[in-house]
């Protein structure tokens, strides 16, 4: 390919360009010409095409996402809000925490191991970029049916990839989800969350201020990885009949990333950078245009200085390459010597590739020839914005009108059968097969991880200050009612933090949906965002950032709307947390909250092939009172244990509690046909010492939360209304599912 320069573009305005193949629409291409006053060079076209892709520009979601800013609560806790690489939250004692969740769905379908691994690598670099030391990861995963052939192909690779990369970095994996549903076949969801910690003064932003400052690229060399990955991989549906667009998959090297983390943290500690950006999707195109537009706008880059792994790469390819483990920093000239010295110490390749100018244009040259000359904001932030048509899909009223008709466990035999079936179903079965492949305790600060309600890590070894994080989505409810579904997922994630006694503080999200060009999918998306924004406003929780993943569909079938909500909470002393289960007999068990006949979207209904009915309506005021109760229960030392009720209802919660420490329980409930299997939101089972019952009732009455005594702990069985389920039998049912399925 001959070099296309700005001069050539001016001289040959009518050259035909492959904008459509790069994913740009005709009017988008016209707009680029309008911005530049000429046709773009091929390098400029490459940059605009990746940066204006759905994945990078949020062009379909922007108009909805702005609600997170408009409806935002005023809070002093938010130090950095939406728009930066990740939001930053004040957690007290001078510490700030940053956390974010991102999707790596499509790459993980193509190449499960590397796709999932580089998903972890990418989110870890986002957190590092804020100036924080990454301290833990989590990964909500969704797959097709557990017994499907493709699930057997992608699941082991994805789990191994998450584990392989995270374990090599020495980051504990403190939780996540593994959910199976038909709609994820051919389109697994791999979402990755990372949390990092820093001091307030250490926050770094993506901006290139100060003319004369140097643009420095450091980390791995640039190769032909994932070229066009962003626009082709993340924004177009796979089509078996279409042209073979087998994209180059990115392969990561976690040991390089580990060195990059330590090298960057040493550079941050000496305050040697003005601005910093990691290279993820859209590689250098993204990093240079975002850094430049974060500053005054002017930047000059000599692209031929970029160190290459493959010398034959063209400038267009270098700009689009998604080679992993690279960072771009803005460094004042007086600090550059020290910067290079630190990189040398860590054996990290580092190159000055350009400088900040006092102009307003991003100029990129290739061996002295000008190949890019653009206003960077038009690349990074002023991409197209679409107000996509949306329409409530016809299925909604139809399925909402359906009645759930499932077997009701009434007799002792039916109760036993139901509990065992729920314990063994893949969505509720023991996930140790997965989590034992992850290092959950490395660094020695993990307080909670799977199977606890939330992950919890200590961030100060002297004061025992800690943070807890939970991620949740209930796609079945979102399918029935996306507005309530998003609120309910938010409530569940917040409750999962609070059961341990941590106080919810901030929200992140990863919104996984089908094609935005389908008005029905767009309606699901809009409703979900509206629900989440309203929910966060009502609960007083700021949204610190997030990620949108569209085009998750196989053919015409979109995935269930899957807004994964992550909530971060703070706990002043991790030693005082409330554990999820009891380890002794003689405690009393109470159910907090009200149970209604909420079977629509429940696991029990799903197991019986039923998807219809009406989702519960979220009562966030009650959820907040329940959270208050749980936090006060922890600080007043009322609870011995507390465990959330969600998928699988009371049956699943009791199963997990008795199996945790092999201490049984004797439970008596009214109306087991509903109470055992219903998934009414806003409920928790707590175990309390008989001496604390008075205190429990007092707090519950103050917070107006219903308290029902359901039993006592002890024995070697879970006994429900006389149905005796020996723990050995229950454990076998709960644990052998994954082993049978995946070996």
């Amino acid at each position: 390919m001959a070099l296309d320069t700005v001069a050539i573009a001016k001289a040959n305005p009518d050259t035909t360009q492959p904008f459509a193949e790069l994913g740009l629409k005709g009017d988008e291409y016209s707009r680029i010409k309008e911005i530049l006053g000429r046709r773009p060079t091929s390098s400029e076209l490459a940059m605009y095409s990746v940066m204006w892709s759905e994945h990078c520009s949020y062009k379909s979601s922007k108009v909805h996402l702005k609600q997170f800013g408009e409806k935002a609560v005023k809070t002093d806790a938010l130090l950095v809000g939406i728009g930066e690489n990740a939001g930053v939250v004040d957690v007290g004692q001078g510490y700030a925490v940053t956390f974010k969740i991102e999707s790596h769905n499509h790459p993980s379908f193509i190449e499960p191991y590397q796709g999932a691994a580089t998903g972890i690598g990418g989110i870890v670099r986002d957190i590092l970029t804020m100036g924080a030391r990454p301290i833990a990861v989590m990964d909500p995963l969704r797959f097709g049916p557990a017994d499907a052939a493709d699930t057997r192909r992608v699941l082991p690779g994805i789990i191994a990839g998450v584990g392989g990369y995270g374990n090599c970095l020495g980051l504990p994996n403190i939780g996540g989800e593994v959910v199976f549903d038909e709609t994820y076949i051919g389109n697994p969801l791999v979402n990755a969350l990372c949390v990092g910690v820093m001091k307030h003064s250490d926050i770094k932003l993506a901006k290139a201020a100060g003319a004369g400052n140097l643009v420095v690229l450091y980390g791995a060399k640039t190769g032909g990885d994932g070229i066009g990955g962003v626009s082709v991989l993340a924004s177009e549906t796979f089509d078996a009949t279409g042209p073979a667009k087998r994209p180059a998959v990115q392969v990561g090297d976690p040991f390089v990333e580990k060195v990059l983390i330590e090298c960057s943290l040493e550079i941050f500690a000496e305050d040697l950078v003005v601005g910093i950006q990691d290279l993820g999707g859209a590689g250098l195109s993204c990093a240079t245009s975002e850094l430049a537009s974060g500053g005054s706008g002017g930047m000059k880059v000599e692209l031929d200085r970029v160190p290459l792994r493959d010398a034959t790469l063209s400038p267009e390819e270098i700009l689009m390459s998604e080679s992993q483990e690279r960072m771009c920093a803005i460094v004042e000239p007086k600090h550059i010597a020290r910067f290079l010295e630190i990189c040398k110490k860590w054996d990290v390749t580092v190159t000055v590739i350009g400088e900040v100018t006092d102009g307003e244009r991003l100029e990129i040259t290739w061996h002295g020839e000008l190949i890019v000359d653009v206003p960077p904001r038009t690349v990074a932030h002023e991409g197209p914005v679409y107000i996509r048509p949306l329409a409530k899909p016809e299925y909604v009223d139809r399925v909402n009108a359906e009645k759930v008709n499932v077997p009701r466990p009434e007799t002792a035999a039916q109760i036993k059968e139901t509990v065992l079936k729920l314990a063994a179903t893949p969505n509720l079965a023991d996930k140790s097969w997965v989590t034992s492949q992850y290092d959950r305790y490395v660094q020695g600060n993990t307080i909670q991880s799977q199977p606890d309600d939330s992950g919890m890590v200590r961030i100060d070894e002297k004061t025992n200050l800690g943070v807890a994080i939970a991620t949740d989505a209930n796609a079945n409810w979102s399918y029935l009612n996306p507005y309530e579904g998003a609120k309910l997922a938010l409530a569940e994630a917040a409750r999962n933090i609070a059961t341990a006694g941590a106080k919810p503080l901030a929200v992140t999200n990863c919104l996984n949906f089908g094609s935005p060009e389908d008005p029905g999918v767009m309606w699901q998306f809009a409703e979900s965002v509206r629900g989440l924004a309203d929910g966060c406003l009502e609960m007083g929780l700021p949204v610190t950032g997030g990620n949108v993943s569209f085009y998750n569909q196989t053919g015409a079938v979109a995935i269930l709307p899957t807004p994964v909500i992550g909530v971060l909470g703070v706990i002043d002393d991790v030693r005082t947390r409330t554990p999820m289960s009891f380890d002794r007999a003689g405690l009393e068990l109470y159910l907090l909250g009200d149970t209604e006949d909420h079977l629509a979207g429940s696991e029990w209904a799903y197991m019986h092939g039923q998807r219809g009915g009406k989702a519960p309506i979220a009562d966030l005021q009650r959820e907040m009172r329940l959270i208050n109760l749980l936090v006060e229960g922890r600080t007043s030392e009322i609870f011995t244990a507390a465990h959330d009720l969600s998928q699988g209802g009371l049956s699943a919660t009791l199963t997990e509690m008795v199996l945790r420490h092999s201490v049984g329980a004797i439970v008596d409930i009214e109306n087991p046909g509903t109470v055992l299997i219903s998934e009414s939101p806003g409920r928790v089972v707590v175990a309390v010492d008989p001496s604390k019952v008075g205190a429990l009732l007092a707090v519950a009455s103050k917070e107006k939360i219903t308290v029902t005594k359901i039993g006592v702990t002890g024995g070697s069985s879970l006994v429900i209304n006389g149905a005796d389920i020996p723990l050995t039998e229950l454990r076998k049912a709960h644990t052998e599912t994954f082993i049978k399925l995946f070996g």
Partner: protein
């Protein structure tokens, strides 16, 4: 008895962390000849008699399914006397 050899290499555009590590280690040991190193793997499959074209086609299929990951690797199948 003949030997079918399958050589598997990462595609040229794919990062090869092992190769990078080897090429960094060579000069440390005083070997300065290498400009770059890429590492692959080799399978030796013994079969009875002279391999037939059908057998080789079978090996190709098996390689695509098991021995190599065609998304990120290329391979060659040959007979070694």
């Amino acid at each position: 008895m003949a030997k079918i050899v399958v050589d598997v290499m990462l595609k040229p555009e794919i990062l090869d962390p092992q190769g990078v590590a080897v090429s960094a280690a060579l000069p440390r040991l005083g070997f300065t000849f290498a400009k770059s190193v890429r590492q692959g793997k080799r399978f030796e499959i013994e079969v009875d008699g002279e391999p037939t074209p059908a057998q080789l086609a079978e090996v190709e299929k098996a390689t695509e399914k098991l021995l190599a990951n065609p998304v990120i690797e290329t391979f060659t199948v040959r007979v070694e006397k």
